[in-house]
Each structure stands twice: as structure tokens, then as C-alpha cells.
């Protein structure tokens, strides 16, 4: 048994040399890409909500089944498939405060629905304070 462990150790060290070279070559993968100016994270959103200086409105851009299954507390659904039906509720929510910061999230980093909804909200409502939540529901 000890011989096996010793051998595995030898193999691990031998393999580590090209692995470290590979890690150096691909070192950019270790850096999380920086946030775009209109991107935010769950932590930052929670911090904004705690600070209470700006009112945060969460928008869930996923499909209706996903929203019905589970969503962030206080989040309103808004997706392009049911835009006209869901938009009035969002507009009403905006009326509750003079200034509202909208944060849109969808499934994960790979889905583009949150960005599509954010762009459309900016265009249709003329609302500028909109952020897209990087990482989405799965990273919560």
C-alpha cells in the first residue's frame, strides 16, 4: 500500500511539471473577467439593498416555469415572450419610489436573456439605472 502511495506521489510530481507550464500558458483563465460598467453581482446587490440609499427592483428574466419554481424575494418576472403582459407590473413597481435601480438576472453567465431584457427596458422605458446580474440564478 505504501509503495502505491509513493508511486502515485512520484507520478504526481512528474505530471506537475508540464501542468505548471500549462497553467502558466493559460494563466489568463484564472482571472475572473472584470465586470462591465452595467454588470453587478449578488453580493453587490445585497449590499445596495442593505444600504437602502437606492431602491432596488429585481427582475427575473427567466422563463415562467423557472420563475414559478423559485425566484429571488421581491423579484418580478419579465421575459420577452410575455413582455406586454408582464411590463405593467414592472412599471407599477417603478412608481413606488422616485429613483429605482433595476437589476436583471437570468439563469447563469451563459444566458443572454438578462442583457436582452435590460437593453429593451432601457430603450422602452428610458430608464438608465439598469444593471445586469453576472452569474445569474445559479450562482446565488
Amino acid at each position: 500500500m505504501r509503495a502505491i502511495i509513493r508511486q502515485i506521489l512520484v507520478l504526481s510530481i512528474l505530471a506537475a511539471i508540464p501542468a505548471l507550464i500549462s497553467a502558466y500558458i493559460h494563466r489568463d483563465l484564472f482571472q475572473t473577467p472584470p465586470l462591465a460598467p452595467d454588470e453587478t453581482t449578488w453580493e453587490q446587490t445585497a449590499a445596495w439593498q442593505r444600504a437602502a440609499a437606492t431602491r432596488i427592483l429585481l427582475i427575473d428574466a427567466r422563463d415562467d416555469n423557472a420563475y414559478a419554481a423559485a425566484h429571488a424575494p421581491g423579484a418580478l418576472p419579465l421575459n420577452e415572450a410575455h413582455w406586454e403582459r408582464q411590463l405593467p407590473a414592472v412599471i407599477e413597481a417603478l412608481g413606488a419610489a422616485a429613483d429605482t435601480r433595476i437589476v436583471v438576472y437570468c439563469d447563469d453567465t451563459l444566458c443572454g436573456a438578462s442583457r436582452a431584457v435590460a437593453v429593451r427596458l432601457r430603450r422602452e422605458l428610458g430608464h438608465t439605472d439598469i444593471f445586469v446580474l453576472k452569474g445569474g440564478w445559479r450562482s446565488r
Binding site: 509513493r6 507520478l11 505530471a15 445559479r138
Partner: protein
């Protein structure tokens, strides 16, 4: 040939050793050029977070290649087989867990095709389990031979 059974076993073992080495050599080589993709594939199982997945994606292929060669170095064969058996077993567990939790299809638009995805995963599961078992058998055989020789 009165030692025909052990000859057949030796032939099978030799062939199996070559096959295992070939499989893991190929597996390792095909992963070293695209660690980002392999890391993403690991992340999709949602068992390990991003950075450990990246470390595994960079390190594992070289371990596979190293073990594939080490199979033919008698002093390292046991360790190589043990490690490969362990890797295959872990992979089997990963796939089984993914199967148990259901496939990750984002909007259910694949309809009845869900069974196809499962079939492919089951094949991968069977393959991983088979690799683990073969490695374990080869390891046991090697240990038995080694201890047999030590007693001489």
C-alpha cells in the same frame, strides 16, 4: 499446454494494459490543448466551483498521460493503475450524480429527446465503470505477481 489458463490470463492482461494505456493517453492528449473547455465541462456537473475545476482541467490530463506511460514501467505500474482506477471511479460517481439529478436542459425544448441524453450518459457511465474495474483487476493481478515474486 498445462499452463494454458494462466497464459490466456496473461494475454488478456497484456492486451488490457495496452488498451488502458491507449485510452488514457488519448484522453489526456485530447484535453491538454483546451483546458478552458474541459474546465467548463467539469463546472457543468456543478460539484466543484470554478477554480478547483480549472486546476483539475490543467493537471489531470498530464496525470493521465504520465500514468499511461508509467503502466509500462514496472516500478511505477501499481501506482499508475491505482490512480487510474481511482480517477475512473470518481468519474463514475460524477456521472451517476448527474444522472440522478436529471439532465441540465435549460428550457425543456428538447421534448421527448431527454431519453437520448440519458442513454448517452448511461453509456459514459458504463464506460467509466468498466475502466475502473479493469484497472482494479490489473492492479490486483500486479500486486499478486509482485508479492509472489517477493516470496521466491
Amino acid at each position: 499446454m498445462n499452463n494454458a489458463p494462466s497464459n490466456a490470463a496473461r494475454i488478456t492482461a497484456s492486451v488490457a494494459l495496452l488498451a488502458i494505456a491507449g485510452v488514457f493517453l488519448y484522453a489526456g492528449i485530447s484535453k491538454i490543448s483546451a483546458p478552458a473547455d474541459f474546465a467548463r465541462a467539469i463546472e457543468l456537473y456543478r460539484i466543484v466551483p470554478r477554480t478547483p475545476a480549472l486546476v483539475v482541467a490543467l493537471y489531470l490530463p498530464w496525470l493521465e498521460i504520465g500514468c499511461a506511460f508509467a503502466i509500462f514501467i514496472r516500478s511505477l505500474r501499481a501506482g499508475a493503475l491505482a490512480f487510474l482506477a481511482f480517477c475512473s471511479a470518481v468519474f463514475t460517481v460524477f456521472i451517476a450524480s448527474a444522472l440522478a439529478r436529471g439532465l441540465d436542459i435549460s428550457c425543456g425544448c428538447f421534448g421527448t429527446g431527454g431519453s437520448t441524453g440519458r442513454a448517452a450518459l448511461l453509456v459514459s457511465l458504463a464506460r467509466a465503470a468498466l475502466l475502473a474495474l479493469v484497472c482494479a483487476w490489473l492492479l490486483r493481478r500486479h500486486m499478486a505477481q509482485a508479492s509472489g515474486r517477493a516470496q521466491l
